[in-house]
Symmetry: C2
Subunit: 320 residues, 2 copies
Amino acid sequence: MIQVGFLTYLEDKLIKVEEKMISYSSGYHPDLKAALDHLMAAGGKRVRPIISLLMGTMLGADEEKLISLGASIELLHTATLVHDDLIDGALLRRGNPTLNSHWTPAATVLTGDHMFAQAARLAAEIGSTEAMSIFAETLSIIVNGEISQLFGKSKLPSREEYYFRIYEKTGSLFALSAKAAAMISPADRKFIQPAENYGKEIGNAFQIVDDVLDFTGDQERVGKPIGNDLRQGIPTLPAILYGEQYPDDDVLLACLNGTVTEQEADDLIHRINESGVIEQALEEASLCVENAVLSLTDFPEGREKDALEKFGRILLNRDL
Amino acid sequence: MIQVGFLTYLEDKLIKVEEKMISYSSGYHPDLKAALDHLMAAGGKRVRPIISLLMGTMLGADEEKLISLGASIELLHTATLVHDDLIDGALLRRGNPTLNSHWTPAATVLTGDHMFAQAARLAAEIGSTEAMSIFAETLSIIVNGEISQLFGKSKLPSREEYYFRIYEKTGSLFALSAKAAAMISPADRKFIQPAENYGKEIGNAFQIVDDVLDFTGDQERVGKPIGNDLRQGIPTLPAILYGEQYPDDDVLLACLNGTVTEQEADDLIHRINESGVIEQALEEASLCVENAVLSLTDFPEGREKDALEKFGRILLNRDL
């Protein structure tokens, strides 16, 4: 879990989130329980529940409801990852073997479905049909994004298309984490929209940094080869910025179509890394974080607001 | 859709249910839309929405809410079928090609996920956190049933175990259809429990008849070979009753372990069909329907109550 000094006071609540996530898993089939334990142990940084907890606490929301909300969102997130790994045929995630790597596709599909069901149960516990509604809508957005990616054309998207994609993939669930926390709080409803905006911008920044790490990170830490997305035909921000700068580099388009040799892909990824677009992409991520922080202007001052501001900045360094 | 004289007055409402089921599908990826259209065209008898509509109308529930409920339950049902077909590798359902037969597993997983999301959105529209909660719980029960079946031991279950399985697989969602309709109605809460019981018993009867048809139905109508479940190692009521009667028929156990020739399986299925257990199984289904009808004793008299009673009896003949 998260190791950040200024967030240690959240630790107790995050433990409750973890407990909540598995609260419905007793009484189920032992093999399913083993799969869930495996997924829980693989962990994750629980950044989405952290956002819900900070936003909700700042606005005076009930702690129990925030814990159900955080657990529900994190379960939904994990469920989409489980199905995602199956779809990608990924064998590692966060350096750990995926469920998919040692289970049958059938068991993997059902484990994901089970987690969707548990996420829905926890969301219902919150007792807000309004929150439930945006919860379901967000799942739609995420799944539609995955479908678009699956059937996507092999061409370089515009920056605008990229932003829409990362909103579907990541920004939308971060937005939900913050927005739902504001919704279930007793605070004025004027906070809902800026809360959503905070989450969305932080989520987009998070995804951009993730996409940059795919180019710059070391294979061992990320658990997959450098430039993995591009090798799989998925263009992310560094590739898009590079394409804007070097529209005549035919290898880039060929790479999206899967018609390059490994050596050509290696060379292209090297050229992208050396072209200055990595810095440009990180600059874009910084702008997202600045927008996120700006949305907090009218929120109540205090420890939580400070933490939400710092949290965004710290995400940029992935210093978690 | 359903072709039963005494239910024609439901036709308009059932058309609204169908419209509701696709109400969120515009704006999504064209390939996804094509998949959803395919699934909608393949149809289904919409027995679950019929139960919700009859039960809810009898108890004075709001029509709009009942339509959302019916659409939500039918979408949830269809989503589980889509994942189920993927898991079973089934190529036909109701005599029509499954999604799975011409799509990749990835697209099939995501189409199911999309339908889960839409089902959740419609369920949230009803505006009852209590209904939402049992909705999520039912999805858990269904998925857990599928997981148990996937990891199930290759032995003959007891009758009791069989009843628990068909409750997970079918009875639970029928129970939800009736129970949630009672919950969102303005009627006395004393009706909730017997409504649930009605749905559960009808669902169990429905599943038993389905399991019997697997032995007796003609291949063309059912869309799969006779005794398909048993050939796949899944023991249903006729096989269980036969096993009680002929505990020394080793071919039955061997069949569950997948260690028989096709000829041996053919012969076993013939023996089961001739042993009298088909009639016994249908007698069990009749008892379930009688229990269902009994649960309606204290409900308001009228067209809907009559229809719910007839509906159960008609299910036995699969005369839909």
